[in-house]
């Protein structure tokens, strides 16, 4: 992760060639650094600090009455580490959760113009209707059983006539 805009004095061409050495051998060398400092501060560079895990976050130094946010490079986790006036550190861990586009359905349900979800009262009313229908069916079955019990007498009488004839 290169912060080339952040450290302009450390240009890649400084590493290998004489111009770099000449630059730093000049008596006016401190001036570029002094000129650089305000630029860095006003540019407000990214303040993301990466740590590898929880242990590394716990070991990160924090000045008294300060707080730092440490991003886990291997998981969607942020560690917020802070120190009180005495320098005693404390750390909270937060999980980063990407916000999906689902909240649109939730707002529709809250509006009452609901096309996807039923309310609890609607479900209770439906349960009552189901119970009523069940009761009607039971009574109809009872009537059918009663009618069946009366019906078969006719068939037995016919057969006796046929046998005699």
């Amino acid at each position: 992760m290169a912060y080339s805009y952040y450290t302009p004095m450390y240009q890649p061409n400084y590493y290998s060639n004489n111009p770099y050495q000449v630059q730093y051998q000049q008596p006016t060398m401190p001036q570029p650094m002094q000129n650089v400092q305000p630029v860095q501060q006003t540019q407000n560079p990214s303040s993301i600090l990466w740590v590898r895990n929880n242990q590394e976050a716990a070991m990160y130094p924090v000045a008294p009455n300060n707080a730092v946010a440490l991003w886990d490079s291997g998981a969607p986790v942020i560690y917020l580490k802070q120190a009180d006036a005495a320098g005693k550190p404390s750390m909270k861990t937060y999980d980063l959760v990407e916000r999906a586009e689902k909240p649109v359905e939730a707002t529709q349900a809250q509006d009452g113009n609901n096309t996807a979800y039923a309310t609890k009262s609607e479900l209770a009313a439906l349960a009552g209707v189901v119970r009523d229908v069940d009761g009607v069916i039971s009574s109809l079955r009872d009537e059918i059983d009663t009618l069946k019990a009366k019906a078969p007498v006719k068939r037995t009488a016919k057969k006796e006539d046929e046998v005699d004839g």
């Binding site: 952040y6 450290t7 400084y14 990466w50 070991m59 008294p64 320098g87």
Partner: protein, 79 residues
């Protein structure tokens, strides 16, 4: 406010070191490099984390200056 870490690296650069050498030296011999830059560090400290914590507790560096130095080190792939 100037970053004393950068001033320390600037001093090392005057000795003819390139940035990678400076940061490597800072990692391997933090006590020596910091004292060269004028920091007040106790003799009995060898752990870099403890040294940095001492510098912050004593007000010699601020949290933001440490953050800048850490980000520079991360930019060079050092941690």
């Amino acid at each position: 406010m100037a970053n004393p870490f950068f001033n320390a690296l600037g001093g090392a650069a005057m000795g003819g070191m390139n940035p990678m050498q400076m940061l490597s030296q800072l990692q391997s011999n933090p006590l020596g490099m910091l004292r060269k830059a004028g920091f007040n560090v106790p003799d009995n400290m060898s752990n870099p984390q403890a040294i940095i914590q001492h510098l912050m507790n004593s007000g010699q560096i601020s949290q933001s200056q440490l953050t800048q130095a850490q980000q520079m080190a991360q930019g060079f792939g050092m941690k």
